[in-house]
């Protein structure tokens, strides 16, 4: 067709053709998505990089200042700083992690570049992580046993230190385990026997035969634990005696001598002479300590194992509690209840519950679960503890109450998701089942629920993600700054739902914002955050994996 014969059509302006093709909308929607992805990945990458790099041994730089001061530390930041009033002239300055808190009173210090005369990387510069009072930066000078000098000079001292440190640490750990664990068991036995006496008193009075028996039993337990305790005392004394007197003397950059007990050193490394593999070794050893050890120094050092344990245990118990509750409620609402204004009102109420601030759930959990339910349980089952020690068992925050509170908090999510999943099951399936002579419950159990299960799992995943990151309500119902007794452990009856526990999200708040030296704790906060995100991601991935297996079983690719 030639152009002459073509009928003149209305010529679309650029505007109409743009609207018709919808190009701007593609850009707008795509841009929105890109922005969201950029923000999320940016945040995650930031946390991952900062969190993962905390334990990498940074080089120790020796700064010689123009005023004659000498400082040894890790350079952690560089920035441009205005020096004149208008900000026209700027100078560079760097933030140095100087440590040696007992000398300087600081963990970090800013130095202007123009005040630095020389920078060097001393070969024997050592970073020492101490059990107490934080890190030390210095050079090993002498290894002492009492007054006797075992080694002198950095090289010899370091060699001797590397030889003597592991056995000293092993003895120290053994003594700690005895104090924390073995003695704890004895104390628990003793307390149980004492409470049995109180129970017998409450049951039959002081004249009863039961009371006499209990007294007798307590005496036996006291004698046995006394003997064992004496044995433990002897063992710890021997272990500590062997470590007594051993010390390493370090020379700080300004020449101060700092002696450190040999078993007061967690770990020491010399980053300036470490090879890449050596650094990696330090890195993984610090990660391992972080993942597997108890916290030290107001949670800002050591490990976070109890918090990992508490987070995972609480999230799983919460999921176990919320899943049946939410599913049953949604099943009734969707399958049994007659649709009408009442169900609509209930649905609106449930959706509103999802918007209630979480601290309100915390207050409810404390008021109802701990003080009403828990006190009731204490009155019935744990009266001796209440009478003798004035110590509540269930009547205070604990793992069970925290899990229940969070289950309540995430219930709306599960109910809404389950309802969606149930309504997505085609009615033709239900009718087919009824036509086969199946009853309502048989239809639900055999047809509707299996088909809806992946959708219900999605709700559970969302609930777990929300619950695992929640802090505010937990502060009221059972999370503690330090709780080394795990809620699930090897002592009978293995699960202790009444115990208080630690939680990573609370730890972020505690270490980052309640710690006396927040600057030093900052890298640890990033690491804890990284760990928490990773744990939630792992929990979710597990749930997603289960869901995809369910989907494969119940839905096929065809149609």
């Amino acid at each position: 067709m030639s152009s002459e014969t073509r009928r003149p059509r209305r010529l679309g302006s650029a505007h109409t053709s743009l609207a018709a093709h919808g190009e701007p909308w593609i850009w707008l929607t795509g841009g929105g998505l890109a922005l969201a992805i950029a923000m999320i990945t940016g945040l995650l990458a930031f946390i991952a990089i900062r969190g993962a790099s905390t334990f990498w041994p940074a080089p120790l730089e020796l700064l010689e200042l123009s005023d004659g001061r000498r400082v040894l530390g890790e350079v952690t930041a560089n920035e441009e700083m205005p020096v004149s009033a208008g900000g026209a002239a700027t100078a560079r300055r760097r933030l140095v992690r100087t440590e040696n808190f007992e000398i300087s009173g600081n963990h970090y210090e800013w130095f202007e570049d123009r005040s630095i005369a020389a920078v060097s990387l001393p070969r024997w510069a050592t970073a020492v992580e101490r059990m107490e009072s934080g890190r030390l930066h210095g050079t090993p000078s002498r290894l002492l046993h009492g007054d006797e000098v075992i080694a002198e000079g950095p090289e010899k001292t370091w060699r001797e230190f590397e030889r003597l440190h592991p056995p000293a640490m092993a003895r120290w750990r053994r003594a700690l385990r005895i104090d924390r664990h073995d003695r704890g068991v004895l104390q628990r036995d003793l307390r149980a026997a004492r409470l049995a006496v109180v129970q017998a008193d409450l049951d039959g009075g002081r004249q009863s035969a039961g009371y006499a028996r209990a007294l007798e039993a307590e005496k036996r337990v006291a004698q046995r634990t006394g003997e064992q305790s004496a044995r433990l005392d002897k063992e710890t004394a021997s272990l500590r005696g062997q470590n007594e007197g051993w010390a390493v003397e370090f020379l700080a950059a300004d020449g101060t001598k700092i002696p450190v007990r040999l078993d007061g050193i967690v770990r020491a490394w010399q980053p300036n002479r470490l090879s890449f593999l050596g650094k990696a070794g330090v890195y993984f050893s610090r990660w391992w300590e972080f993942l597997s050890d108890d916290p030290r120094e107001a949670n800002s050092a050591g490990g976070v194992f109890p918090a990992i344990w508490g987070t995972v245990a609480m999230t799983l118990i919460m999921a176990l509690l919320v899943a049946p509750f939410g599913m049953l409620a949604a099943l009734y609402l969707r399958e049994y209840a007659t649709p009408g204004p009442v169900t609509t009102a209930i649905r609106i109420a449930i959706n509103n519950l999802a918007g209630v601030p979480s601290i309100v759930y915390g207050a409810f959990g404390l008021g109802f679960f701990c003080y009403v339910l828990g006190s009731g349980i204490d009155d019935i089952f744990f009266q001796p503890s209440l009478v003798a020690d004035n110590q509540p068992t269930f009547g205070t925050g604990g793992l069970l109450w925290a899990s229940l509170t969070l289950a309540l908090l995430t219930l709306p999510v599960v109910i809404v998701a389950t309802e969606e999943a149930l309504s997505a099951v085609p009615n033709s399936m239900r009718e087919g089942s009824y036509a086969c002579g199946a009853g309502k419950w048989q239809t639900i159990r055999r047809i509707v629920l299996p088909r809806a299960l992946p959708g219900i799992m999605t709700g559970l995943i969302l609930a777990m993600a929300r619950g695992a990151g929640e802090v505010a309500p937990l502060m009221l119902v059972g999370v503690k700054k330090l709780a080394l007794d795990l809620p699930i452990d090897g002592t009978f009856p293995f699960i202790h739902p009444e115990r208080e526990f630690m939680h990573l999200a609370y730890l972020i708040y505690d270490v980052g914002f309640q710690s006396p030296n927040s600057q030093a704790a900052k890298p640890v906060v990033f690491t804890i955050t990284f760990l928490l995100v990773t744990i939630i991601a792992l929990l979710n991935l597990t749930a997603i994996w289960i869901r995809s297996r369910l989907k494969r079983r119940h839905l096929s690719q065809q149609f």
């Binding site: 033709s428 087919g432 086969c436 055999r446």
Partner: protein, 310 residues
């Protein structure tokens, strides 16, 4: 190369208003003032019109008797006093334009309409003499005596095997031998055994549409139903799958009492022994298929089955 189009009569929705307008314009195929328009117009106007039931139907031994059955969706009456008897071990087809109440009537037989909140019924149906709408009738027990196949194949999200033995499973049958036997018999009965015998434990959702529909028939006949209800079983299938399902209905004839709703006149004429023509909730004519399609009593029926309206 030209493809010979497959010819199906596709009934289109025709509202009473349209019909009246056509009548007023005097443009109906069978000429003005014909009794066709009279009868259909009076149905459309809501007047009672007696059903024409052929004598041969009355001679048959009935398995299901529908007795002055009325049904309302809320305030709207969908079925008007239908009385008909479904013969034993024969295939009975329900035909009529969309919205005439065929499917509603079929779903009333196994009381699936109970699931709809606003439905109200009067009259009764009797399955081998037992009143279906008796308040003492256990609906679940009732449905076990019937099998139903729906418009769209609706296999359950489980294996082929479990689909077929579903009705036995819900009755608590655990004996492997019984289940295996019923599964094979039903699948053979539904002409599906040879195609799926090697993958009985694969998901039923992996079958093709036609196979799925035959699986649904196998599921429906697994419990040895007294009546088999087929609700437009081929409307979602391609011509080849339709042919297979029709062959299957032919095979079921004589062994099962089948009540089939269809939109396809050729299908009704090919597969059924008896045909009932319904219009706007009323039974218009009911008789042996050959007579309905060749010499119906009413000219309205002739007009419908030959495709001149509806």
């Amino acid at each position: 190369m030209t493809v010979q189009p497959q010819i199906f009569i596709t009934p289109t929705m025709q509202s009473p208003m349209d019909l009246q307008r056509t009548q007023a314009a005097g443009q109906t195929g069978s000429g003005a003032e014909s009794p066709i328009t009279d009868r259909l117009a009076s149905v459309a106007a809501g007047r009672d019109v007696p059903s024409e039931v052929h004598e041969q139907v009355l001679l048959e031994n009935p398995v299901l008797e529908i007795d002055r059955f009325n049904l309302w969706y809320g305030g709207k009456q969908a079925i008007h006093s239908v009385t008909m008897a479904i013969p034993l071990n024969k295939v009975t087809a329900l035909v009529g334009p969309s919205g005439c109440g065929k499917s509603t009537l079929l779903r009333s037989v196994n009381r699936l309409n109970d699931l709809v909140q606003s439905v109200r019924v009067t009259g009764d149906m009797r399955l081998n003499g037992d009143s279906i709408y008796d308040p003492r009738m256990d609906v679940i027990e009732l449905r076990k005596r019937m099998g139903m196949v729906f418009q769209k194949p609706n296999p359950f999200p489980m294996s082929i095997y479990e689909n077929v033995v579903y009705s036995l499973r819900i009755d608590g049958e655990h004996s492997r031998g019984v289940l295996d036997e019923v599964c094979e018999l039903s699948l053979r009965g539904a002409a599906l055994w040879d195609e799926v015998k090697d993958r009985l434990h694969d998901s039923a959702l992996g079958l093709s549409g036609g196979q799925q529909q035959r699986l649904c028939i196998a599921r429906a006949i697994a419990a040895e139903p007294e009546v088999l209800l087929l609700d437009e079983p081929c409307s979602a299938l391609d011509p080849i799958a339709t042919g297979k399902v029709e062959d299957l209905i032919q095979e079921l004839r004589g062994r099962y009492s089948v009540l089939i709703v269809t939109h396809n006149m050729q299908q009704a004429s090919r597969t059924s022994d008896f045909t009932a023509f319904m219009y706007l909730g009323r039974l218009i004519e009911y008789g042996p298929t050959t007579e309905i399609f060749t010499k119906p009593i009413l000219r309205e029926t002739e007009a419908y089955v030959t495709g001149r309206f509806g």
